[in-house]
Symmetry: C2
DNA sequence: TCCAATTGTGCAAACGATTGCATTTATTTA
DNA sequence: TAAATAAATGCAATCGTTTGCACAATTGGA
């Protein structure tokens, strides 16, 4: 800008105003300055701009905290956030917490220092203190939670409709003739785990089935599924269907059940939750509840940007629920 | 800082020096200032710091451009970059190009404006002009390519050992008794495609087998694999093994071959390339070349940070090759 | 012809840090 | 005791922008 000012014999202030299309600069000057700037491909220094505006405006950087990166659901969410943010002129600072509370705190500090305009976060599994989030709110940095929300904070959030997703899926299993449906869930300390369990319970109830506690287990990964499933299949009245909290677990069940010589889906039905890469790779392909991570990401970004730009009141906690969809494939019988 | 200075009755300059442990400030003052700062949890404004240092220092933000986010290999690489960057005090600005040249150019502009200290990038498929990269270099922003490198630019890069990876895998197929090995590759315009093809060709040659052009096809996704494989299996001398350029394609082959009633691996062996989620989900599990995305990411970040910090000479193009590893599972016979 | 209104510019102070140089004060040396 | 040296601090410019206010030049009206 200094150079332009010197070359064109005007002041820096004039250049600044001309470049921002201020009406107080005469048309000829304005155009001359803009042309010169363009020809010498001048572009403003964002750092300086930000410094100048630090009181009023926020940056256009959105902080995103994910527990893991190599993970279908989180990738999808990140993808959704990226799309929405880019479309609306924001960019992303991404960090992974590795499911560690300490890392999470450090990341929050770092993002605060780096002046993000807001943060989209899914808590680490071992996070049980929330000062770092409160600090951010106190510093005026809006927060939006996804997937694993912070129960102690009345913050904005977007979650998937775990309850209805599970309810519908289990209902479908029942409608296709299954009567003894096992449930493999995540630890009940997680809100999503509880919601899915409730969906399972209520689906049974709605169809007049009674719940057998022996068929309900805490199990949310493949290794555990492969460990506990053989015993379950040895029960005198073995399950004729499994609902698993995620696709990975469902795949574990599938591999055991097939190995034991049962036909899927004729003798045993299996339903997962996620609809990630895995679902179309196994044989038969997996019936599963689609979690629409990308949509979750988009909604989260939409809320955050609303908060930043003032479309949404800053003190308001916007809560959105993304609908799931049952994707029927080969591991369940047809109606 | 102003507040601290006022409260302690010193100048802002003194505060600045005290906080940066300058020896020219008396111990008592220094400690008093540091204590006061800590107690009132002061932390420096990075924006201002950057503005001040804009000539000398660069920011600590690394720009990362990925073609897609929901993709095992790219996720792994991003994960590797994140780990290395975080460990060394940098953070990531992530953007996806969606395989679009225009988006790639926009992202480069945006990252330049946002003063990243360097960029790690895999080109979009349809990128054939390189001014945007040259601009960055001209602006002094170091560039490191991964996976899909820019052939026209002598830039730093880290790639996987496609040639040896394929060579070893195909050799293994031969050693386990396969003689008619089909090759499904990516378009030869991509360097990695060519390298893998060469590995295939040379493995055959080394073992005294002649190449049958009918067994070599351009096919790098599941849909195409499912379309062209049936015809290939109908050949009078059908292949007894397939090498696919990625796991996804291999899965497509597997599903067709199984459907046609062949036993895998006894009648037909299949080998993929990636070792992503899919490889352990299909039945039988996939033998595949492990691509070590996370390691690729780490090396890329290491190079970039070296370039930024001057450990590596700025004009030098560092080229690293990450070794692959053959992961033997159920889709190939044993030795 | 003079004053008011309008229009176009420039000055200079911010934004929050850093740093070369000058200045003050204390200490040592001759 | 005066001069030289060392130690601690402050002044002020700087990084690249923006913007309130003052000022000059032009125009219009009475």
């Amino acid at each position: 800008m200094k150079d332009i000012a010197r070359e064109l014999g005007v002041s820096v202030a004039t250049v600044s105003r001309a470049l921002s299309d201020s009406p107080s600069i005469s048309r000829e000057r304005r155009e001359a300055i803009q042309r010169y700037a363009r020809e010498h491909n001048y572009f403003p220094n964002v750092i300086a701009e930000q410094l100048r505006h630090s009181r009023r405006n926020s940056s256009r950087a959105i902080g995103v905290i994910v527990p893991e990166l190599v993970h279908y659901y989180f990738s999808s969410i990140l993808d959704g956030i990226e799309s929405e943010a880019t479309a609306r002129g924001y960019h992303l600072i991404v960090a992974k917490s590795n499911e560690s509370y300490e890392r999470e705190v450090k990341i929050c500090d770092s993002m605060l220092k780096n002046k993000v305009c807001g943060i989209i976060v899914s808590q680490a599994k071992d996070t049980e203190r929330y000062e770092h989030f409160l600090n951010l709110e106190a510093a005026g940095v809006p927060l939006v939670f996804y997937d694993r929300i912070c129960p102690a904070l009345n913050a904005s959030r977007v979650v998937v409709d775990d309850y209805m997703g599970t309810m519908n899926a289990v209902s479908y299993l029942i409608e296709t003739g299954c009567r003894r449906i096992a449930f493999y869930g995540a630890p009940m300390s997680m809100v999503i785990a509880k919601n899915r369990y409730n969906g399972y319970r209520d689906a049974l109830y709605k169809h007049g089935l009674t719940m057998d506690e022996r068929l309900v287990r805490i199990c949310d990964n493949r290794a555990d599924a492969e460990r506990i499933t053989p015993a379950m299949m040895r029960l005198e009245d073995r399950p004729d269907a499994f609902f698993a909290v995620n696709d990975e677990t469902a795949i574990g069940i599938l591999s055991v059940v097939k190995r034991l010589g049962y036909n899927v889906p004729d003798e045993v039905s299996i339903c997962g939750f996620t609809n990630g890469f895995r679902a179309t790779v196994c044989d038969p392909m997996l019936t599963t509840v689609e979690q629409r991570g990308s949509q979750v990401g988009k909604e989260a970004a939409d809320i955050l940007i609303g908060l930043v730009e003032g479309t949404l009141p800053a003190d308001h906690a916007e809560k959105r629920i993304v609908k799931t969809r049952l994707v029927i494939r080969g591991t369940t019988r047809s109606l």
